[in-house]
């Protein structure tokens, strides 16, 4: 472990080079500037042709829609990711698997809620994120309780270890599904955090802050979303991931928080979150809490590329690419709905590079 950096390239050098090359294809601010000037999706297609996306959008016969753009971008990311994954050696392969687990959790919860609403599985499956696809996915709807879900369906999947705290006999309803999601996510992020810590070295230096931020973001979001529900403080604190910077004092305070002001008071104790909860300056564009978190996340992920010989670049690349897809979809949405004024509300990645 001491000389991991020395031998890093033996196993993972190729993939790191690959991912850094892919990162060079992330759209620059000039690209965004040009995209924002487009009047139709066709224009956007034309412009994206000159970027690394190439013929991605032009190869289809159908007319362009925003959802088509979205799925194409997603498929592109999945292609790149599966290329990385299939060439990866342990422990990088495990690391990459960890990235997919969060998508799997989302997929499971979406399928459960879909099944609760009596939707057909065939209709739900295409809406699942392909990065989190697994064999048993379609059978998720069979389960009625979390225990059943675990013992019958998910026990074979990599999600099984995260079920330790989530097993309960209560019937799955929408609320329960959401709680299940958060419990699974808490277990997942804690496990990922300790995995990165065990790897140590630069990977831990890069990944731990990113994951801690992710944990705290979820904590804040859970708290804000829980206003007005019957979740008690104890219930809430059971959902908070305990690997973040807020642990333990911040979590305790947040569990008690009942309105936005109290959350803000907690955030004020932490310099990195104080900014996010700050009131927007007068005159500046209003940004939602979510966008501010995304902005912060992009910043953290960009830092990963400043160092070499670590796994963080893979995680960061996936996250940045996801953000880029969100940006493109946002711009496409604004273009189709002719909302030119809001078009600049995307979150730029690598704003300095051209």
């Amino acid at each position: 472990p001491a000389n991991r950096e020395l031998t890093f390239n033996v196993d993972h050098g190729y993939l790191e080079g690959l991912v850094r090359g892919m990162k060079a294809g992330i759209l620059t601010s000039t690209d965004y500037h040009n995209l924002a000037q487009c009047d139709t999706l066709e224009d956007m297609k034309l412009h994206l042709q000159s970027t690394d996306y190439g013929k991605l959008l032009s190869s289809s016969e159908e007319d362009l829609t925003v959802s088509l753009v979205d799925s194409k971008l997603r498929a592109n990311l999945v292609t790149e990711f599966s290329c990385l994954r299939s060439n990866a050696l342990p422990p990088l392969s495990t690391f990459l698997d960890y990235i997919t687990y969060s998508y799997m959790i989302d997929n499971v919860v979406m399928l459960i809620t879909g099944a609760l609403k009596q939707r057909d599985v065939a209709e739900l499956l295409p809406r699942c994120h392909p990065l989190g696809a697994f064999d048993q996915m379609a059978a998720v709807g069979i389960a009625r309780t979390p225990t059943e879900l675990y013992s019958a369906i998910l026990v074979d999947t990599p999600l099984a270890p995260f079920f330790q705290d989530a097993v309960s006999e209560s019937n799955l309803d929408e609320m329960e599904a959401e709680i299940l999601r958060n419990k699974l996510y808490k277990a997942y992020i804690e496990s990922f955090h300790s995995f990165c810590k065990n790897i140590g070295g630069v990977t831990a230096d890069i990944m731990c802050p990113v994951l801690e931020f992710e944990a705290d973001r979820r904590t804040f979001i859970i708290t804000v979303n829980s206003f007005g529900t019957e979740l008690s403080g104890a219930d809430k604190s059971a959902l908070y991931p305990s690997c973040g910077k807020l642990y333990p004092e911040g979590l305790r305070l947040l569990a008690k928080a009942e309105d936005h002001e109290q959350v803000k008071a907690v955030a004020n104790c932490y310099p990195e979150y104080k900014l996010i909860f700050d009131d927007p300056e007068p005159g500046a564009d209003f940004k939602t809490l979510e966008d501010r978190f995304f902005e912060q996340e992009v910043k953290l992920n960009m830092l990963a590329f400043l160092q070499q010989f670590h796994f963080g670049v893979f995680y960061s690349y996936v996250k940045l690419k996801e953000q880029e897809s969100r940006n493109i979809v946002w711009i496409a949405e604004c273009v189709t709905q002719r909302q030119k004024s809001k078009i600049h509300n995307y979150i730029p990645i690598f704003p300095g590079t051209h």
Binding site: Q37, C38, S58, S59, Q136, A138, A139, I142, S151, D156
Partner: protein, 845 residues
């Protein structure tokens, strides 16, 4: 010739294209490939340009064509001959092509979809028959074991229910259901596990593998499948089982309840499969016909669309004039081609039937034009060698015409071997003779293409190697005795005793009759026997390398005068060229003189007193050597004179130009400026900036010519100029020494080549020749094979490449840095023939 020496004279021209005939005019220009268009709307992004819709349409057509080509390729239909070169279609005909393409696409798509549907159907039916066949075995198996089962009938829920005893279950009143189907083999284990977990054992799963490979309808790959049969109790569990089947993408088929039904179904399936086969065959035939019809014209379409897209791309570069009636394009064009350009525009206007003609107008510019050097198939290889170093600045001396001779010659000096040269020349001659063979020309093999492109270079290299091989008298390391040696051993009068007792005997040329005069061509073959052959050849080749090197470099320095004269910088002639040449000739030219003098002045008789050139040359710098016998009277005085000249030329080179320019700039500010102004009026505008550049300062190269044109009152920076000149001086003076030494690679490589071929002969061929039995003849065959293979692979290919690289270096560094700037921009004409097709790139064509 002047074009090859300097490149074409270029001018900037404005084309006024009537909007009606612009398309045809540009199409005409694209066929000719005369001009390079400049972008007049650089600030407009790609999708905001005027003809973006037409380009989109072209892309749509390209997409359909790509689809067509892929289908044609899949169906293994060869495309017809590709010699057709259709002109770009008229805009009004484009719609027809577009419609044709779209119709074809729809038709193809429908047929393919039908075919796929039929194939899927067929697969399903085949799967169903497999399933029925295999599940029958499950049931038969149970029937055989029936007697064993009877005694356990009372305990139907126990584990032994794995057998298919459904009759007993029915008797118990439980509702028994069956689900049967196929699943991919890799998934069966997970499937079984989940089935067990979810249904808690209330199901029985039996399965068997299908022997054949079935095609996976999604990927088209053959996969192994497993037929399974699940029997379950109760509806609730049935629901779950169905969901699990869905989840594992099982292909579920109804399970017949009785044997008779099963037979009926099997029978029905058989006939349906047969029917499907016929229909499928017909569909495939039809598909093939459609594709064959499409393949006939697909190549024409590809070319047409490519041309059309290129034309619209060019139209996007043009700007509109105020009246919006005509397009304005700016082009770089060779001055000599302007009449052709005019004719092309007339032709274009005539074709489109425009009433107002399009016309050309030369406009003055201060921009540096791109460099165009017209080449043919022979000169292009050599021009490529020069361009690989750097494209020449506009109108500067092009080293390529000289490279045609010097490059193969320097190569051959290193590669000198008659035999190897013949092989190389024959190989190159074969390529030259077959150069029109399409198979050789259109191959995708990059290594082959490299050789093929350089076939004329290789031919010249081979021919020159034959020549130097004759001079070195080396043919596969052996000498040829064509004219009879000039030495006679008999005249030495050695006795038998002397022959036997001495391993080495010395031929003395001073004994009468031993040396009858020099061999007419090259080295005397008797040296092949001499033990001091290597020493003799080394001395000869070393001196030859130095002589060739000095000549080559002096030639480079002399070529720089052409640049100075052309760019009207006469002061450079006295302040740069003269000191440079004096420095080179006074020191190293004198060395060459001494070598030649020694060769001529000393014969065999007084060779014992021949002085060492090295000592003399060193003494020349130390200005001593009184103890030595002079080579010729007055040597010391001449040498001191030469050294003084050489040393004096350094400060002239260092300070002359900067000081002169400084004086020119400050002292004669108003005097004699634009001396050639009358000539400017006569000549083209292009000369004007040269005139100005003359009076302006200039850097070490011509890089700031363009800026000087834009800003004629640019400040003169003495320090900057001095620094440039200091760097140049240091580089040149040190370069003279190191470059001369660098030419010694001629000797080293030629030595290496000769020695390597000799080693090959001694280690391989001689072993085979030594066996003096009949067996030896047979043994000689593989030995010669080995010799031939090693000769070609090591001596020809590897040594040839190494000699090539060294010759390249001698040209790029030692020769070209004496005069060649190489900072130009290559002229890229708009020509359809130069456009790559995206389909070629994808390997579809």
């Amino acid at each position: 010739m002047s074009s090859l020496l300097r490149g074409e004279e270029m001018c900037l021209a404005q084309l006024f294209l009537q909007s009606g005939s612009a398309y045809d005019c540009i199409s005409e220009l694209g066929e000719l490939g005369l001009v390079e268009f400049r972008d007049l709307n650089p600030s407009v992004t790609a999708f905001q340009r005027k003809h973006v819709n037409e380009i989109k349409k072209c892309e749509e057509m390209e997409r359909i064509l790509g689809y067509l080509l892929r289908e044609v390729k899949k169906a293994d239909i060869s495309l017809p001959e590709r010699d057709v070169n259709p002109v770009a279609p008229l805009p009004k005909h484009v719609m027809a092509i577009m419609e044709q393409l779209q119709r074809l696409e729809v038709e193809l798509g429908e047929v393919t979809r039908n075919k796929e549907k039929l194939q899927r159907n067929l697969l399903e039916l085949t799967e169903y028959t497999h399933m029925l066949r295999i599940t029958r075995k499950f049931v038969q198996r149970t029937a055989e074991r029936e007697p064993l089962q009877v005694q356990y009938e009372e305990f139907p829920f126990l584990e032994k229910e794995t057998m298919m005893d459904y009759s007993s279950m029915q008797r118990l009143g439980a509702k028994l259901g069956f689900i049967s189907g196929l699943i991919q083999r890799v998934k069966i284990e997970a499937f079984e596990r989940m089935l067990w977990r979810v249904c808690k054992g209330y199901t029985i799963l039996s399965y068997a593998e299908v022997e054949e490979y079935l095609e996976n309808p999604d990927t088209g790959e053959p996969t192994k499948c497993v037929v399974f049969l699940i029997s379950y109790w109760g509806d609730q569990i049935g629901q779950k089982v169905k969901k699990i089947c869905d989840c594992y993408h099982c292909h579920v088929y109804p399970y017949p309840s009785s044997n008779e039904e099963r037979n009926d179904v099997v029978e029905g399936l058989r006939t349906r499969i047969q029917d499907l086969h016929t229909v499928l065959n017909r569909t495939e035939d039809y598909l093939r016909q459609v594709l064959i019809k499409a393949s006939e014209s697909v190549y024409t379409w590809v070319i047409q669309v490519k041309k059309m897209k290129a034309i619209y791309y060019i139209l996007n570069l043009c700007s509109f004039d105020v009246t919006n009636k005509c397009l304005i394009a700016e082009v770089w064009c060779p001055v000599n081609d302007i009449p052709t350009l005019r004719r092309a525009l007339e032709e274009g206007s005539r074709k489109s039937g425009a009433t107002v003609p399009s016309f050309v107008n030369r406009i003055p510019t201060s921009d540096t034009p791109p460099t165009l050097i017209k080449t043919n198939k022979f000169t292009s290889g050599f021009q490529n060698i020069v361009d690989a170093y750097g494209v020449g600045s506009y109108r500067e001396v092009n080293p390529a015409p000289f490279t045609i001779i010097t490059f193969p010659f320097l190569f051959a000096v290193m590669f000198g071997d008659l035999g190897h040269g013949v092989i190389m020349a024959v190989f190159a001659a074969w390529m030259v003779l077959c150069e029109n063979n399409r198979k050789l020309k259109n191959t995708r093999n990059e290594i082959w293409n490299t050789f093929f492109e350089g076939r004329y270079i290789i031919l010249m290299m081979g021919l020159f190697s034959i020549y130097t091989g004759l001079i070195y008298n080396d043919c596969f390391s052996k000498s040829l005795n064509i004219f009879g040696s000039g030495w006679s051993v008999k005249a030495m009068g050695w006795t038998k005793e002397q022959w036997e007792n001495n391993r080495f005997l010395t031929l003395d040329p001073n004994v009468t009759g031993v040396f009858k005069g020099p061999y007419p061509l090259g080295i005397d073959p008797i040296w092949n026997l001499a033990s001091n052959r290597l020493t003799f050849l080394n001395s000869y080749k070393m001196k030859m390398s130095v002589i060739l090197g000095i000549i080559h470099m002096s030639f480079g320095v002399i070529l720089s005068t052409y640049n100075y004269l052309h760019f009207r910088k006469k002061y450079n002639l006295y302040l740069v060229f003269l000191p440079e040449l004096l420095f080179l000739l006074c020191l190293f030219g004198y060395l060459v003189f001494m070598i030649l003098y020694k060769w001529l002045a000393f014969s065999a008789k007084d060779s014992r007193h021949a002085p060492s050139i090295l000592i003399h040359f060193i003494n020349m710098f130390l200005m001593q050597g009184d103890g030595l016998q002079p080579l010729y009277p007055g040597q010391t005085g001449l040498q001191i004179f030469l050294v003084v000249i050489a040393v004096l030329s350094v400060p002239v080179l260092l300070l002359g130009k900067p000081v002169y320019l400084y004086w020119l700039h400050n002292g004669s500010h108003r005097l004699g400026l634009y001396r050639g102004y009358e000539r400017v009026r006569r000549n083209s505008e292009e000369e004007l900036y040269l005139m100005r550049a003359h009076d302006m300062e200039e850097g070490s190269s011509h890089s700031d010519l363009s800026s000087s044109g834009e800003n004629p009152t640019e400040e003169f920076d003495f320090a900057d100029e001095l620094l440039h000149q200091a760097i140049h001086t240091i580089e040149y003076c040190l370069g003279c020494v190191s470059n001369t030494a660098s030419y010694l690679r001629l000797w080293a490589l030629s030595l290496a080549h000769a020695q390597l071929s000799e080693v090959l002969w001694a280690m391989v061929m001689r072993v085979g020749l030594r066996m003096d039995s009949t067996l030896g003849v047979l043994f000689l065959v593989p030995v010669f094979g080995l010799f031939a293979v090693l000769t070609v692979s090591i001596l020809l290919v590897m040594e040839g490449l190494s000699a090539f690289l060294h010759a390249l270096r001698l040209h790029w560094v030692e020769f070209q840095n004496k005069f060649y700037g190489g900072t130009g921009v290559k002229f890229c004409p708009f020509a359809f023939s130069l456009l790559p097709s995206s389909f070629e790139h994808d390997g579809l064509l």
